[in-house]
């Protein structure tokens, strides 16, 4: 009761409410929101490329739509121009001197023309430049001395383009980017064609229990990534942000008088109440937003998550989340305890990255074992996956590689035993070094 009273007394001070509760919560929810928007955009574009063939007239029109407005502003027409005139300038003698003039009245230069400055306007072949600017400029001048807003100097090996106005810059972009879109369209068509020839791709070595759905990997990885970030941020709020609260008390000098006045149990209990409130508020917002975004993607965009256990096996999902929470909790505690004890030493940064280094080595060994696929290496892979922190990456990728269920159970159990041991050590050390905080 005292614990709750103290926790709510802290929260009733507006500044403390913002510092201890609202700010970390908003930051976390903001990160998840951004990440969900990013995931949705990526998945939407992947799905669009996959599900609708890009070569339809409708699709092309849609892609060209964005350039139509720019073309209308610059050239007065949404549609590409029917013809781009090539004007080869000529040298004529006038008043005892040679001057360069356009060949006809139709070739009178305009600011928004393209000039190709060449050595010999009469013989230069402008085919490549016409494919770039054709339909997006009224004239292409081949000359020495003409001065429209875009001048491409081709007289030496080193080509040089000079643009003298913002409109010229937009004209250059119109030619350049509309071609890029066309090329991308063509590439997309090739990939789609290849995909249609191969159908759904899966990967299964002899030692893997289930097939890895390569075709559905991007949406699945996005989903895993989002679930993972929820877990990681929740752990950050629970452990690192918890430490920040204690640091906040310690910096003000209020830690010792408050711990003495409330009792250790009540004080730490209240700090944990604040932590739990924050984590629950975050998970409430984060999980509902994730479910909403992915359900929406699945229903309206037809995003497929393959035959992964994430679409149905609640036991597998529960065991996987159990292992994720355990292993990330363990890794965070290792970093946190090291940071706590060696916080004044320069090597504390090394301690903090220790879990990452161990995880990196484990991932490397696990991945390289696919090159030597035998039942024995398959067994070694399972051993790696069953070890907390070392097998963190393959364990996170469980929806793709689907190791046996018992491997995940061992991983989670070992991780939580580690969490228990470290938490106890952390608490003892903390109790003895209150003034060091």
């Amino acid at each position: 009761m005292n614990t709750l009273r103290f926790a709510f007394a802290l929260l009733r001070v507006p500044r403390l409410f913002v510092t201890l509760f609202l700010f970390p919560l908003l930051v976390s929810v903001g990160i998840v929101g951004l990440q969900l928007v990013g995931s949705a955009v990526v998945l939407q574009s992947i799905t669009m490329n996959r599900t609708s063939p890009p070569s339809t007239d409708e699709n092309k029109k849609e892609k060209g739509e964005s350039f139509a407005y720019l073309r209308e502003i610059l050239l007065g027409s949404k549609e590409p121009l029917a013809e781009t005139k090539v004007c080869r300038w000529v040298r004529v003698k006038k008043n005892d001197a040679f001057v360069e003039l356009p060949p006809s009245a139709e070739c009178s230069p305009d600011k928004l023309d393209i000039a190709l400055i060449v050595n010999d306007p009469a013989s230069f072949d402008p085919k490549e430049y016409l494919s770039l600017f054709g339909g997006n400029a009224k004239r292409v001048h081949l000359c020495h001395t003409c001065h429209p807003d875009v001048m491409i100097d081709l007289r030496s090996e080193e080509k040089l383009t000079k643009v003298t106005s913002v409109w010229g810059l937009l004209l250059l972009g119109l030619g350049r980017n509309s071609k890029l879109v066309e090329r991308r369209q063509e590439m997309s068509e090739s990939v789609h064609q290849a995909d249609s020839l191969m159908g759904t791709i899966s990967f299964k070595t002899h030692s893997l229990l289930e097939e890895v759905p390569i075709s559905d990997a991007p949406p699945l990885v996005a989903l895993v990534f989002n679930i993972l970030s929820l877990v990681v941020i929740a752990l950050w709020l629970a452990l690192k942000a918890h430490r920040r609260v204690l640091d906040y008390f310690a910096r003000s000098g209020a830690l010792l008088p408050m711990v003495a006045a409330t009792g250790k149990g009540t004080f730490y209990g209240a700090v944990w109440v604040l932590t739990i409130l924050r984590v629950f508020a975050f998970l409430g917002a984060g999980i509902s937003a994730t479910i909403f975004v992915f359900t929406e993607l699945s229903e309206s965009q037809g995003v497929s998550f393959g035959d992964s256990f994430l679409q149905g096996s609640y036991l597998h999902i529960a065991v996987w989340l159990f292992a994720i929470c355990g292993t990330f909790g363990f890794a965070t505690l290792i970093a946190s305890v090291s940071d706590l004890r060696q916080r004044h030493d320069w090597w504390s940064a090394l301690y903090m990255s220790l879990p990452l280094i161990v995880c990196g080595i484990g991932s490397l060994i696990w991945a390289s074992l696919f090159l030597f696929d035998t039942p024995i290496t398959g067994g070694i892979r399972n051993v790696i996956v069953s070890l907390p922190v070392i097998g963190m990456t393959p364990m996170v990728l469980t929806p793709l590689f689907q190791p046996p269920l018992y491997v995940l159970i061992i991983h989670g159990t070992l991780a939580f035993i580690g969490v228990g041991i470290l938490a106890k050590k952390n608490a003892n050390w903390f109790a003895a070094h209150l003034e060091d905080l």
Binding site: F6, Y248, S252, G253, L255, L256, P257, A260, N428, L434
Partner: protein, 309 residues
């Protein structure tokens, strides 16, 4: 009504950090209305204080704190009977002193306005009113300590632990605080750690002297002074006090001898009035008045430190 008392009992006590023993004591039992903890930096004063508050885990033995009011004695539980003011004081940096005091009042007295009524006397006595609208980060160390001290008094503790309360205070503020503590000692007990031996001597009736992580002496202030320094003598009436002082110092090289006007004090000679008279007469100083007096705490501790080094 008699003053309340606090008793501190340690048996085979040890407090250690990561294997390093910060404080040890085979046996100690000290009782008083105001107990002063004295000793050099790192002697173990803060460790003892934090052990009493339950903030430092005890590695061996036991520590028991009891408070006695009239005939009733009970074990003092930190969160129920004690308040603590650290050397640095405390206020959250980004909230006002008023909000900070209200926070304490809300969870300790269950009334956010407690400081405006019952607790007002401490807000005024410690001159906290002008600080109420200031943010914690705007306060000096001394101001933060005044705030935390006022909060401590408002929590109505039976035992108030103060870590270096006089540190950095000028003479006027030291006197005012000493007066406040003396007045409040009628209603509650105090354990005070301080380097200001003159003030500790004024307000403490019991002393614990700590040295290098162990208890060197404890008990009534006068007993402790006597234990560590023996008798003190005042010699008056010398025609040449400076010369007499030099002779005495040569004769008692380990004693602390100092002169105040015409009075010469000898601390730690471990001698008697008779012997001193015989000695001074041998130096042809026959008109001297030699008196045995109670040793002062600053003199006793100075003598003790001199011996230690």
């Amino acid at each position: 009504m008699s003053r309340p008392l606090v008793s501190l009992t340690l048996k085979n006590f040890g407090a250690s950090y990561d294997g390093f023993v910060a404080l040890r004591c085979d046996e100690m039992s000290v009782k008083g209305n105001v107990i002063g903890l004295i000793g050099h930096n790192g002697a173990g004063k803060s460790t003892l204080m934090r052990s009493i508050l339950g903030l430092v885990p005890i590695s061996t033995g036991s520590l028991e704190t009891r408070v006695q009011r009239d005939a009733t004695e009970k074990i003092a539980v930190p969160e129920q009977h004690m308040a603590f003011c650290p050397e640095t004081g405390s206020v959250f940096a980004d909230i006002t002193v008023k909000s900070y005091i209200e926070l304490w009042c809300r969870f300790k007295q269950r009334s956010v306005h407690y400081y405006q009524h019952e607790g007002k006397q401490f807000i005024e006595a410690l001159e906290v009113s002008p600080l109420l609208q200031k943010l914690g980060r705007e306060l000096s160390k001394g101001q933060r300590r005044r705030v935390q001290m006022a909060i401590g008094f408002m929590m109505s503790p039976e035992l108030f632990l103060l870590d270096e309360p006089f540190d950095g205070l000028d003479v006027r503020h030291s006197d005012e605080l000493a007066e406040l503590l003396a007045e409040e000692s009628k209603r509650r007990t105090f354990i005070i750690s301080s380097h200001r031996l003159d003030v500790v001597e004024r307000i403490a009736d019991s002393i614990v002297l700590l040295e290098n992580g162990s208890v060197r002496a404890f008990g009534d202030t006068s007993d402790v002074c006597h234990t560590i320094a023996g008798d003190t003598f005042h010699i008056v009436g010398s025609p040449d006090p400076e010369d007499l002082g030099t002779r005495l110092q040569n004769h008692f090289p380990t004693a602390l001898i100092h002169r105040s006007g015409t009075i010469i004090s000898i601390v730690g000679s471990h001698d008697s009035v008779g012997n001193l008279k015989t000695l001074t007469q041998s130096w042809e100083q026959t008109e001297l008045v030699i008196k045995r007096v109670a040793p002062t705490l600053p003199d006793s501790v100075s003598y003790h430190l001199r011996q230690s080094h």
